[in-house]
Amino acid sequence: MPPDQKKIKVLIADGSELVRIYFRDIFWINGFENCCDLSVAADLDETEAIVKDPATRPDVIFLGLSLRKKIDGRTFIDPKYSFEFAHRIKTDPELRHIKIFVFSSHMEKQFERDAKNAQVDQYVYKNQNLPKDIVAIIDSFTEPCKPTPTK
């Protein structure tokens, strides 16, 4: 990565610890940490806080649909909160540049439509995407900062 190039900030927001580890491992093992700063969030409130703060605001979010959200002291888990959050980002002129990839095992067509309405960049089915597919997605936004191949 060129020395003056800023690292791409990537946020992994997922309720499952295994998924968070999976993503972190993919970034680490494939050397993407050289050009990306990773942060992780286990619930929607934490995710919103990271996005709100200009110092931590990500360029890319991998967004799960089973994230806990606290409303009036009670905890809810519902995909609609993730879609509402995505929609708020995509309709905010200051935030709309953030790429959002929904990463979910939900295969329902309705969720795909909800994602489209929320203007997310891509709906990524968990069980249809192998590690090489995830690497290709990461490649698509890290191209400018990738190291030149050795051969």
């Binding site: 999976y22 491992d25 093992i29 050795t150």
Partner: protein, 433 residues
């Protein structure tokens, strides 16, 4: 450039703290850059496999740092390590390690299913990988229905299942004949050059190093070298150079005996290789006659011999005579063996098995197949006498025997004795000349 793999002062012991403690890796330090193709060259028991298992996260580190892209895998949680093993490193083993009860396709989809891939997506990917190794027509066969070379290609496809950037191969050619070994070397080269994967091979066979960029030497748990491979050196000179690097204390004839034993007894256990080396050294020093040498090679293991099949013993004896009679130089001998490596023991046994069973029409299970291979190996070695052999063949399967009728058991044993006594060669050619 940051190395993809870096080991710092790594020590590893088996049975640490016990009287049988074994120091397998001794203060090992080296680094490998992304996209390199390197080899660790050393004899059996040198610590090569331990090193690979540590890098692959199969063995847990005990002392020192094992850094992958700057992160010490010794500090990973169990879950992190489990995912690292799946997506970080693809392993290729000498014995292929395919699951016998799963089809070829299922063997490849298995690691993908571990990560939650849908069946149809995993199947499609596995077919792509099978196409890459030219085996798509065998997708629905079982591993035991494939040749050794084909099984090793399946295991390469399996290693690629989760797209790991690092491929480690533990003596990947040890059980393959020359043509299959060349095909596997081509595939490894392709994984490195075309995919830009980092490839690490451990081997004790100098001729398998033809494409590697750097060679490390490993002996008694110590790693040295790491210099760029001399790809332009002639093959015979390369073998001499490599074994010489590994064994600087040996005399010229001792070194030749050591090197020839490794080349001539491919795939044999370390004890057999070591015993052959002693006889070879005596023969090259002129302390043993041609006939004595021949007899010792084919004499049963328990009687102090190597326990080789008569045909193989005769062929090796004649071959060594070419050196002792100075018809060919050691350089030529190495070059000849590297250009056309000996068929490994595994190959001999498989061919022998097929020949012994060619008239057998009864039921045959996977378990019987495995047992029969073991019994053949022991019979060749001479640890099972002729009557014991018949007894095992005739013992019912319910009592852990092979379950042949007494008539069939005798017929197989008689056929086998012809081979052991060198009175015939199976049609399928046990020891390819």
């Amino acid at each position: 450039m940051e190395p993809i793999i870096k080991l710092e002062n790594v020590n590893f012991w088996y049975d640490k703290g016990k009287p049988i403690e074994y120091h397998a890796l001794n203060n090992v330090t080296f680094q490998i850059n992304k996209g390199e193709y390197v080899a660790f060259f050393g004899s059996s028991g040198s610590g090569k496999s331990t090193l690979l298992y540590l890098i692959a996260g199969i063995e847990q580190g005990q002392e020192g740092k094992i850094l992958i892209n700057g992160r010490d895998i010794s500090s990973l949680t169990k879950q992190e390590l489990a995912i690292y093993r799946q997506i970080g490193v693809g392993m290729i083993f000498q014995q292929f390690n395919l699951i016998a009860s799963l089809t070829v396709l299922q063997n490849i989809t298995f690691p993908m299913m571990f990560l939650g891939a849908a069946q149809e997506r995993a199947d499609a990917e596995a077919m792509e990988l099978l196409k890459r190794v030219n085996l798509e027509q065998y997708a629905h066969r079982f591993p035991t229905e494939l040749s050794g070379g084909q099984q090793q290609r399946v295991s390469i496809a399996r290693a690629l299942a989760n797209n790991p950037p690092i491929i480690v191969a533990d003596e990947p050619l040890g059980n393959l004949d020359s043509a299959n070994a060349q095909a596997i070397l081509e595939l490894l080269k392709e994984l490195n050059e075309k995919d830009n994967r980092t490839v690490i091979m451990v081997t004790h066979e100098a001729w398998s190093l033809r494409d590697v960029e750097r060679i490390f030497y490993i002996k008694d748990g110590l790693v040295t070298g790491g210099e760029p491979a001399k790809t332009n050196a002639s093959q015979g000179a390369l073998t001499k150079h490599l074994y010489g690097q590994l064994n600087p204390e040996l005399s010229e004839n001792q070194l030749a005996a050591h090197t020839l034993a490794e080349l001539l007894l491919r795939g044999y256990p370390a004890e057999e290789v070591a015993r052959s080396e002693t006889f070879l050294a005596a023969r090259l020093d002129g302390k043993m006659s041609k006939d004595e040498f021949d007899v010792l090679l084919s004499r049963p293991w328990k009687d102090g011999g190597v326990g080789l099949l008569k045909h193989r013993a005769d062929r090796i004896t004649t071959w060594v005579e070419g050196i002792t009679e100075e018809k060919k130089t050691l350089h030529d001998a190495y070059r000849e063996l590297e250009g056309n490596p000996e068929a490994p023991l595994h190959d001999d046994i498989e061919k022998l098995k097929v020949w012994l069973l060619e008239d057998y029409k009864g039921k045959w299970t996977e378990l019987q197949d495995t047992q029969f291979v073991e019994v053949i190996a022991e019979r060749i070695k001479g640890t099972i006498p002729a009557d014991g052999f018949i007894q095992i063949l005739n013992t019912p399967r319910s009592k852990s025997g092979l379950g042949f009728s007494i008539h069939t058991a005798h017929r197989i044993a008689e056929k086998f004795d012809l081979i052991l006594n060198g009175k015939t060669k199976p049609e399928v050619n046990v020891a390819a000349a």
